[in-house]
Amino acid sequence: MMSPGTLTGLLCLALVSAQEITTTGQPAEGGMTRPRPLPDYDGRPPPGLHAADVLLFVPRLVLYPAHLVLEYGVRRPIVGLVTITEKHHVPERVMGLLTFNQGRAGVFPTFSLRSGMKPLVGLSLFADSAGHPEHDVRLRASGWDRRALSAAAEDRWRVLEDRSAVLTLAARFRRTNDNTFYGLGPNTVEDARFYYLSNVVDGGVQLDARLEGLSRYRVLFQFRSASFAGSDYGGEARDLERALQASAPGELAPGFEQGYQLLRAGLDLALDSRHPFRPDHPGSGVRLETGGLFAVDPGDRQRSFFTWGAALAAILDLTGYEHLLALQLTAAFTERIGDRPVPFYERVSLGGPEQMQGFREGRFRDDSAVSGGLHYRYPVWAFADAELISSVGNVLPGHLQDFRFSHLYWSNGLSLKTNFSRETAVGLTAAIGSSRLDAPDFALADSVRLFFGVGQGF
């Protein structure tokens, strides 16, 4: 007596045979036009129903619509489109339209998305070796509406014998109405957020030069003009006092109401003991970044100040193949020189992609800032590393006046970032920021941030 499996097998054989009969192309005089029958390679009847097929029948049925969508709604259209663009050299042709002078000059549309902030669309124009082999020009303009505008012009000269330095004459204007201010001092809260509009114009000259390995320095001479106003961003126009739940706005945010002009001169120095290239060079080392910037208002000499600070990182390669554990300590100070208070916008700050990533840029502002972080960076892909970052920090009046550990805020994050360079990386970061450690209703995730962009690595 035949088993059910045998019957199934025979049925399958019959079906296959029937299909073969209907699809066999006769080898006519000119050759076949339809598929030949599938040869019976081993002469055995086809295998019967497999146990896995029975067990998977229902899950397959359930997932079949997903398979259909993925196959015919996603895979085939996208792969087909990419194939056509490759076949007809579409990217190269677009590049040909956007660039000229053998690719040394061109214009590109730009688009940037920022979490919780307005997107920016614009144009970027570049001209390399413009008029001189060592001369490059960059022009950029972008915006969303009249309250979100940005423009920049840069004139770059590669200088020094080995072209290791770039002298840049630059002018930049930026107007944004989604800036946030939480007040000065060490005891600010997330809810007391004030949106403001800023108009900042910078113009000047700077020299960026490389030293040995990853070490570098920058010298800067610049004029800055800044003015501010309240903003209706976020749907509700609020006064500074109401937003910060306080009075006396002049004291709350010096420089906010009148704006200011500054002449700025600064020097930044980075010294790094690590080798710039990864292969065969373990990532252990020490990096020191330090710098100072003097600023004075040309119309009011009493508004003058000096900002300085240092960041020290000790990096240990745990395995010799880029499992890096780093301890980073940062301190920054703003020293008032004249009688007038230092504008709120010019004071040292924490938050943003570089430090305390769980908080918005400029989330903490005051005379001095301190932060300490533990980083663990490890390879997860040929082109990317992951980085766990845990840091604490806060701003304080004076020179870290009344510093207490319990007054710090805590930031934790995870980044996925490119690993081509030890110095800079493009990455995606998700981070959370806590309320102050001594807050009675302490919250680990008082602030949540997600951002993508270029950042400095350690």
Binding site: S3, P4, G5, T6, G9, P27, A28, G30, G31, M32, P35, R36, P37, L38, P39, D40, Y41, D42, G43, R44, G48, L49, H50, A51, A52, D53, V54, L55, L56, F57, V58, R60, L63, A66, L70, E71, V74, R75, I78, V79, V82, T83, T85, K87, E92, G96, T99, G103, R278, P279, H323, Y376, Y378, P379, V380, W381, A382, A386, L388, N419
Partner: protein, 596 residues
């Protein structure tokens, strides 16, 4: 019992359960699938005349990579596919000759001459003393620069150079790879290394190239100089290049590793189910041919004996014997161990904080790092090898497909290997020795992995011992002993024969050790045991009577202290004392199960 449950709302799941159980029972019944009394299919009739030339197929580099890394993987995953065996496998577990594959070293002795020259015929060879070589077009893509030429012998060739990275290695790999793949049994072009002088080159007036903006522009001397700047040169100024003779016929573009070519009536086996494409994974692993993507293949519309059909070629082996793009160390280290984007590796490394042990963290440059990078035998595990991105045929390789490739690799001894490597014309003997030693060690690791996990026996033949008595011996070879991955001193063969209508009747057994005089080959005198199947069937039974059908199972125990891990089953018909036995089927099960 199932139907007696009264509650109505529960009927559907109960019925479903019942049906599932019934289907499961029938599925688990696994009916006997007898091999017929017939000769094995040795030639696949897939070279029949085709009426119309198939269309050319364009394969996009980015599209194919994105498809195989992401889109196909997702779509396939939602289909919940179960492992299935390859289709084009004959009853002796071998691949018939076809328009894809010709059995060479796997089934017959191959001369050193053939290993050296591969598919090249004397008329294919390019004389570097005779010019001009007229440049007609530039090579459109790929990692190494080159151009197309027309030679005085009328032949057209693709000329490729090494480029500034790893001098000599890409041209050597292009040539040696083609020789080895020819040896395995694939169709390959005639590739050779030549040294020539720049004066031989002339630019055809209508020669064009596609520029960086996708436009066809004339080729200038400056373009040629740019390509030649990356060429390896001898002290006398002659330049090293690999030349590849154009394939005879009309190129139709690459073949896909999935599905069939719809306009080729001969192409009826889905490519992912072709054993030679699945098993190609181990050949790629051995040579570290990580760029074994569809763009490195070619279908050609050929004419042979008045018939026109499509023949399938492997091309472009220039990535082999090395690690990818040596200037990007993190990628070079992972070559062969992880793909361009292996989501499982990324995820595991992310979750385990990068502490999961990975071979690419341990690899070190060999003694010839400038040429071979991280290419070595250390850390090489063939079954875990990965190409640049998933290959649909490689992904479906089963242990039977792997063992087929292993049987071929087991027959490539060092003289054959040296003959193929000599075609690479490397200038430094140390580099030659490094390559030979590395390939030898990688092959040994590969063989050790498979031939100690599965049955190492192959080359089964029925031999007549004495023509007068028609006594027969079943002879075989032990690839593990022959290649030194198992010891003849510890190996024991346990042989059992089963017959009867359901192959459940033991007919006899014997245990024996390899013969010290010829440890890698052994013979079993037939019949052995208590009864022969012919007696069960009776003298009047037809030749293909089910009772004449029986199975011999051979367990190879390489470590007597441990249980054998796998067996091989040989299916035979006993045609009687005068006609003897006929071997009709071979099966290599994954594990020890009922011998049916």
């Amino acid at each position: 019992m199932c139907g007696s449950l009264p509650s109505r709302p529960r009927r559907v799941p109960v019925r479903l359960t019942c049906w599932t159980l019934v289907l499961l029972a029938s599925a688990c019944a696994d009916p006997l699938r007898r091999f017929p009394l017939a000769d094995p299919l040795l030639e696949d009739p897939d070279r029949g005349a085709v009426a119309r030339q198939p269309r050319k197929y364009y394969s996009g580099l980015i599209a194919d990579e994105a498809d195989n890394i992401l889109f196909r993987t997702l779509s396939e995953a939602a289909r919940l596919p179960a492992p299935e065996e390859a289709v084009n496998v004959n009853c002796l577990d071998e691949v018939p000759n076809s328009s894809w594959f010709v059995n060479r070293v796997g089934v017959r002795p191959v001369s050193l001459e053939e290993a050296r020259w591969g598919s090249c015929q004397p008329q294919d060879l390019l004389d570097p003393r005779q010019g001009p070589w007229v440049v007609s077009a530039a090579k459109p893509d790929g990692m190494n620069p080159g151009f197309f030429i027309k030679a005085p012998n009328g032949g057209r060739y693709l000329v490729k150079f090494d480029g500034p990275q790893q001098p000599q290695r890409p041209t050597m790999a292009e040539v040696v790879g083609s020789k080895l793949y020819h040896l395995f049994g694939y169709h390959t072009p005639c590739n050779e290394v030549v040294y020539f002088r720049q004066e031989l080159l002339r630019i055809s007036p209508d020669a064009t190239r596609t520029n960086e903006y996708g436009k066809e522009v004339p080729i200038t001397q400056r373009d040629i100089d740019k390509v030649l700047a990356g060429a390896f040169r001898l002290k006398d100024g002659s330049m090293r290049a690999s030349v590849s003779r154009f394939l005879p016929g009309t190129p139709l573009g690459p073949f896909r590793y999935e599905g069939t070519r719809p306009d080729d009536p001969n192409d009826v086996v889905p490519h992912q189910d072709r054993r030679e494409l699945r098993g190609g994974r181990l050949f790629a692993a051995w040579t570290n041919h990580y760029d074994s993507r569809e763009q490195n293949s070619m279908d050609v519309w050929v004419e042979e004996g008045g018939r026109r059909y499509v023949r399938h070629y492997y091309l472009d082996f220039g990535d082999s014997f090395s690690s990818a793009r040596p200037q990007l160390d993190s990628l070079a280290r992972r070559t062969g161990y992880s793909g361009h984007f292996s989501a499982d590796h990324v995820l595991v490394d992310l979750v385990t904080l990068g502490l999961y042990p990975r071979p690419w963290n341990q690899v070190a440059l060999g003694t010839e790092p400038e040429m071979f990078g991280y290419f070595s035998a250390h850390h090489f595990v063939a079954s875990e090898w990965r190409g640049a991105y998933p290959n649909p045929a490689f992904a479906r390789m089963t242990h039977r497909d792997a063992l087929w490739a292993v049987r071929i690799l087991a027959r490539i001894d060092e003289p054959l290997l040296r003959a193929a490597v000599s075609a690479g014309r490397l200038e430094q003997p140390r580099a030659v020795e490094y390559l030979v030693a590395t390939l030898r060690d990688r092959r040994r690791r590969l063989l050790a992995e498979y031939l100690t996990r599965y049955s190492p026996l192959s080359g089964f033949q029925l031999r007549e011992r004495d023509p007068e008595t028609s006594e027969q011996s079943l002879c075989f070879e032990d690839d593990a002993i022959r290649n030194g991955v198992a010891s003849a001193d510890t190996t024991v063969y346990r042989v059992r024969a089963y017959g009867g209508r359901n192959l459940d009747q033991e007919l006899g057994w014997l245990h024996f050790r390899p013969d010290r005089g010829h440890p890698a080959s052994a013979c079993i005198l037939l019949p052995f045991g208590y009864r022969r199947p012919h007696e069960l069937a009776g003298p009047q039974a037809p030749p293909d009577d089910p009772l004449r059908y029986f199975v011999i199972e051979i367990l190879t125990n390489q470590q007597p202290a441990m249980r054998p891990r796998a067996s091989i089953r040989l299916y035979l018909y006993d045609l009687g004392p005068s006609s003897g036995f006929k071997l009709v089927g071979i099966d290599r099960p994954r594990s020890l199960t009922t011998a049916r």
